[in-house]
Amino acid sequence: MRPFRFGVALYVPGSRAEWVAKCRQAENLGYDVVGVVDHLGRVAPVPALLLAAEATERIRLNTYVLNASFHNPAVLARDLAALHEFTGGRVEIGIGAGYVREEFEAAGIDWGTPGRRFGRLVDVVTEIEREFTDRPRPPLLLGGRGDRMLTFAAAHADTIALTGTAPGAPEGRLALAGSAALAERADFVKRVLDGRAAELNLMVHFVRITNDRRVALEAAHRLVPHLGVEELGELATVLVGSAEAVAEQLLRTRETLGISYFTVIEDDLTRLAPVIEKLR
């Protein structure tokens, strides 16, 4: 069984001082990885990770995840190689195929078909593999949901990231996959890995450390109306309960789904900290 790792995906842009403080806080709270998202209106990933490295001592740094369509493969490979060198090898490269159509349109980048977006991801991964042919490549995380994406990830990635989402949520609602759908995706990954060792990551969408579990689950249910309170209480992407109970839940998830690396979003940065402490 793999050791736990905990990451946080930061996204709120701000001043140098704010960014430095946030990265140090993540390190001090015991996280293993500080990640940056790749969305318009959010932090600039490469400068942000460089500054994160300067501001911290040990925490690993990852792109969680780069939108392959946003970047020229050769230019991106150069940027990531420099980040790897400048941070003393603390970088982990996370890449996805992109999923927010409005951002493609705002940037004037062809949204295309899922096949086209997958093709761009393959181009980016190929270029990164080429960039590091003569030296150890930083760990590669590939994230997604579909069969094609996860099959490719199983062949190329050190870490395979499950989004925990389901297709087709109503506008403005969080499209979380239910327990069965999530387990099916984790099984699929194990099948296509075919014995190859890889770390499994899961994006955690909702964290509330509370003694009033019912109230917090009802709050989650309002965000995810297509899943009932009972199911949300069991779901690996929704962590609600006392620190002890959530720690138990993560142990179970690792046992049953084989997922050992959990990433929360910035809003939940401090919430998960007592749980991390219990699992060390």
Binding site: R42, A44, V46, F70, V75, L83, E85
Partner: protein, 295 residues
């Protein structure tokens, strides 16, 4: 008016792969008294934005400049995020230099077609327009440190590029090069040609000239008590295309004692309006005594 602009001196750096080596170089440039530290943008070299964020962490006051960004490598909307993000992370010390791109081999390496000069300038113009639009958009995040965005440096030689610079730039970078076929190696321009380029820009600038800085990239520096011998050395470098005397007149070639070079620089400010000089990193140590004569 430009003759009275305060001097600034920058160093165009070669960015190494190692963090320690880069940090040391950046500190040294600041300690030598330079005002600006510049990073170029080429494939096969460390990229400018993370390099400048690191330079900002390693130093206190020098301005941090992309010299110059190869605009065709970037989607303007995503570039804006890197620009304003770096601007924030360096506390507003970023000076953004943009170019149209000129190294054909790098376009090939990036899997991009090598567009015509016209198309490259078109893209540069779109990039500038898009950056300014996004700086001005209160919804755009990260927000620039100053509402108008970081100072913009545009460098080049042709009419269209200098026209764009006259319209948009805070700093106009003159190359001191002559017209050569697209993609061919650069060659130095005679002083009269530079006069003509400067006059062209001044005519376009009109009243705006008072608010615009003229930059020159100097290709060669030799601090020596024997100016004639120094120029003879340059003559070998340019393979006899220009004689020592003509070379001595070029503003991109600075040869002599520190005091002589300081005089040359004052002369170039007087004649061409250049007040901001960028030298290559390999000459930074040698040039440092010149700075003392000009402060």
């Amino acid at each position: 008016m430009t003759g009275e602009k305060p001097f600034r001196f920058g160093v165009n750096m070669v960015v190494p792969d190692s963090r320690a080596a880069w940090v040391e170089k950046c500190r040294k440039v600041e300690d030598l008294g330079f005002d600006v530290l510049s990073a170029a943008d080429h494939l096969g070299m460390a990229p400018p934005f993370p390099a400048l964020v690191l330079a900002g962490e390693a130093t206190e006051r020098v301005k941090l400049n992309t010299f110059v960004l190869n605009a065709p490598f970037y989607n303007p909307v995503l570039l804006a995020r890197d620009v304003t993000g770096t601007d924030q992370f360096t506390g507003g010390r970023l000076e953004l230099g943009l170019g149209a791109g000129y190294v054909k081999a790098e376009f090939e390496a990036a899997g991009l077609p090598f567009p015509s000069a016209r198309e490259r300038v078109d893209h540069l113009e779109r990039t500038i327009t898009e950056l300014k639009r996004l700086y001005a958009d209160p919804e755009h995040k990260p927000a620039p440190v100053r509402p108008e965005g970081p100072p913009l440096l545009l460098g080049g030689r042709g009419d269209r590029l200098l026209g764009l610079a006259a319209e948009h730039a805070d700093i106009i970078g003159f190359t001191g090069t002559t017209k050569t076929p697209d993609g061919a190696p650069l060659a130095a321009a005679a002083p009269e040609e530079i006069d003509e380029r400067v006059a062209f820009v001044r005519a376009k600038l009109g009243d705006r000239e008072a608010h615009v800085e003229f930059n020159l990239l100097c290709q060669f520096v030799k601090v020596t008590n024997d100016r004639a011998a120094g120029l003879a050395e340059v003559e070998l470098l340019v393979e006899g295309r220009l004689g020592a005397e003509a070379l001595g007149e070029l503003p991109v070639v600075l040869v002599g004692t520190p005091a002589q070079i300081a005089d040359q620089i004052r002369g170039h400010r007087e004649r061409f309006g250049f007040s901001y000089f960028t030298i290559l990193e390999m000459f930074a140590d040698e040039f440092a005594p010149v700075l003392e004569h000009l402060r």
